[in-house]
């Protein structure tokens, strides 16, 4: 494989990792607060649809982004209502949200556009343009580093950079701010937070809302950045891969970046090569598809370092008698 191909694969890795990363960090906020969220998929999906739909109707990708975020946050609040206010089963709520999004998007798409559950293809201002970083063209002639800068680092849409900047931001919020301290505390020991006079419910809703916000950006990028419009079930399991990455990263922001890049790479390779020939042994493309899931199971099995989730995860908080 020559350098140029490598760069192309890595470039596509970055693009494919972005929605995973945003969704993964979304899940990180939620789960660090003790609210397990297997509804990342649904929130991304609904955001993808509304972003594409609004962008298609208004021609503004920014309005699309806004609509995507609003819709994902609304779904988040449904999850919050079920799992925080009514202390329901968070897993079941997540499952319900995924189906709700899968059904509603097609239903509304059919009603609005009548194209069999898809939005019209986005053109012009309805899509995110690629940003050329300063000196990308000038430097592209420099060997090795030039193409790396011009192709891999420069030339992505705004949301890609947003996604990657979210990693240090998340880390900073989580470990350097009061909000982060309380957020981590409420996921480990909500009774400690409650007796310290801080609202458990408030913190968890905040976390769930942030989760919705980030899922909204993720879904928006999917439909208006990575692709040009919404098609039925376009998240294609990315929410679950993000969830897998979250476990893989053991709920830590920088590790989440690593995990998402790895899974993004697998997707990029699977996309580019149908079957990979490794000296006589052919690896079918399905192995690439399944690899993120297999790796996650291996991690979950604790053969490669145990993944210990936040202690209060999945447990609704009830004041003890």
């Amino acid at each position: 494989m020559d350098y140029n191909t490598l760069l192309q694969v890595l470039d596509s890795t970055v693009r494919l990792a972005t929605p995973l990363l945003l969704a993964c960090l979304a899940g990180l906020f939620s789960e660090r607060s003790g609210v397990i969220d297997i509804g990342l998929e649904g929130k991304m999906l609904i955001a993808a649809f509304f972003s594409a739909a609004i962008a298609a109707m208004t021609g503004s990708v920014w309005l699309g982004l806004g609509a995507g975020i609003v819709s994902a946050v609304l779904l988040s609040l449904v999850h919050g209502l079920a799992s925080i206010t009514f202390r329901g089963n968070q897993l079941i709520s997540g499952v319900a949200i995924n189906f709700l999004a899968a059904g509603l998007t097609v239903l509304i798409a059919q009603d609005w556009f009548g194209q069999g559950g898809r939005t019209p293809s986005l053109i012009g201002g309805g899509r995110w343009g690629n940003i050329t970083l300063p000196f990308a063209d000038t430097l592209s002639g420099v060997p090795v580093i030039g193409p790396l800068y011009a192709q891999l680092i420069s030339g992505h849409s705004l949301l890609v950079y947003v996604g990657f900047l979210m990693v240090p931001l998340t880390w900073w919020v989580l470990f350097r701010t009061r909000f982060g301290l309380r957020l981590r505390a409420v996921g480990e020991s909500p009774e400690a937070v409650d007796t310290a006079g801080v609202s458990v419910v408030g913190l968890r809703y905040a976390a769930v809302a942030i989760c919705g916000l980030l899922c909204g950006i993720a879904g928006s990028y999917l439909a208006t950045g990575l692709q040009a419009g919404f098609v039925k079930d376009m998240t294609a399991g990315r929410g679950y891969i993000a969830l897998a990455a979250l476990i893989f990263a053991k709920w830590r922001p920088w590790h989440a970046l690593g995990a998402c890049l790895l899974f993004g790479l697998l997707q990029a390779v699977a996309l580019r090569y149908q079957n990979i020939d490794l000296g006589g042994i052919t690896i079918p493309v399905q192995v690439m598809d399944a690899l993120p899931y297999i790796l996650t199971v291996v991690i979950l099995a604790g053969f490669v370092g145990k993944a210990i989730p936040p202690r209060a995860g999945g447990e609704p908080y009830v004041k003890e008698r």
Binding site: G88, L100, G103, L104, L107, G117, Y240, Q286, L300
Partner: protein, 369 residues
């Protein structure tokens, strides 16, 4: 103290949840500019007023009975088996292998062997998540989700690269030999004078599903194993104290659950398609969650809920055929049912409990005064 009478818990709560889900669904239909009453009428006509409609309804219901039972057996052990989808896919693989590669003189023998294979394959697919949960504490919800995707990839590989006959385009196996084709309701009940169930896929597997309901009922409420499964589900520490091995019980409960999900493959592969196709499960594994939740994990409840969802599926197909409402409406309804009967259970329950508490107080006061 119990806050509500048992009947309210078993019947009233799910019924109100269902009503709420129905109400919201009606609003959704209104929202997309259609008439919910007309829609319901169409659904009832298409699914229940013709025998062929019933044939479809019961065909879908058969799938949902299996997956619903699968989810509920696991629920009794407090395990959330969200992997019914993958287990059913692999169960279908077992069916295909038995039907394609072994010679069968008669469908009844083939049915027995295919059922065993389906159950076995489904159980095997549930085994690794079960073992990891029991032995290493890996969260079974996550592992079973992962195994759904792994199953899909595996099946995709097998159908595309291995089992697809040469020259065929779509990823599917060859048609099963005629001797393995199961009798449909039409074969069984239609006469010259009464052409019932014409062209519908409902078949003899439905009766297998009913038998599964009976077996699961006896298993959970009458056997020592069921006693242990439920005990473990209520309290792991107590189970340990009693000498019930959590590892063994978790694994067995999941094997049974996986086997039940796998059995669905008999209905889809052998009963309907008569070959194994990609995506034969069509999300039935997930509908099992809704069915189990609505049926309160009881085989009778599961049976009724499965029929209801069978009706919704068939009715939804009719809607998609005659109106501008896509089939995904059913997915929305399914989501709302899961949401209200599962996650928002307390929203329905808490006000009801208050009503019953008030009634009890009133009842106590009256004789004293």
């Amino acid at each position: 103290m119990d806050r509500m009478p048992a009947w309210a818990d078993a019947v009233l709560v799910p019924l109100i949840s269902l009503l709420l889900a129905a109400l919201l669904s009606a609003l959704v239909i209104l929202g997309i500019g259609e008439n919910p009453i007309e829609a319901l009428k169409l659904m009832v006509e298409g699914a229940l007023l013709r025998s062929a409609g019933w044939g479809y309804t019961l065909y879908y219901a058969t799938n949902f009975i299996f997956t619903g039972l699968a989810v509920s057996v696991a629920f009794h052990a407090k395990l959330f088996n969200i992997g019914g989808e993958g287990q059913a896919m692999i169960g279908g693989l077992g069916v295909a292998l038995v039907c394609l590669y072994l010679p069968w003189p008669h469908w009844s023998l083939a049915l027995v062997a295919a059922s065993v294979a389906a159950a076995l394959f489904g159980a095997v697919w549930a085994f690794i998540p079960a073992y990891l949960q029991a032995k290493r504490g890996s969260h079974i919800v996550i592992t079973t989700i992962m195994f759904n995707f792994i199953a899909a990839a595996l099946l995709n590989y097998l159908l595309v690269n291995v089992m697809k006959p040469e020259g065929q385009q779509d990823p599917a196996t060859a048609i099963f030999p005629a001797a393995t084709h199961l009798p449909t309701f039409q074969d069984m009940f239609a006469t010259e004078a009464m052409p019932l169930f014409r062209g519908s896929p409902g078949n003899v597997t439905f009766f297998l599903a009913i038998a599964a309901c009976l077996v699961v009922w006896a298993l959970i409420w009458r056997t020592r194993l069921g006693y242990e499964i439920r005990a473990l589900g209520h309290s792991e520490s107590a189970a340990r104290y009693a000498g019930i091995s959590p590892v063994r019980t978790i694994v067995i409960a999941m094997l049974i659950s996986g086997a039940l999900a796998g059995l669905m493959g008999v209905n889809t592969a052998m009963g309907e398609a008569e070959r194994l196709v990609m995506n034969a499960t069509e999300g039935a594994g997930f509908i099992g969650i809704a069915v189990a939740l609505m049926g309160r994990n009881h085989p009778i409840g599961v049976f009724l809920a499965a029929i209801l969802f069978g009706f919704l599926y068939q009715g939804g197909a009719e809607l998609a055929l005659w109106t501008n409402i896509p089939r995904e409406l059913i997915v929305v309804i399914q989501a709302l049912v899961i949401l209200f009967t599962g996650a928002l259970d307390n929203m329905v329950r808490m006000p009801l409990e208050r009503v019953f508490a008030a009634r009890r107080r009133a009842a106590r006061k009256t004789p004293a005064e």
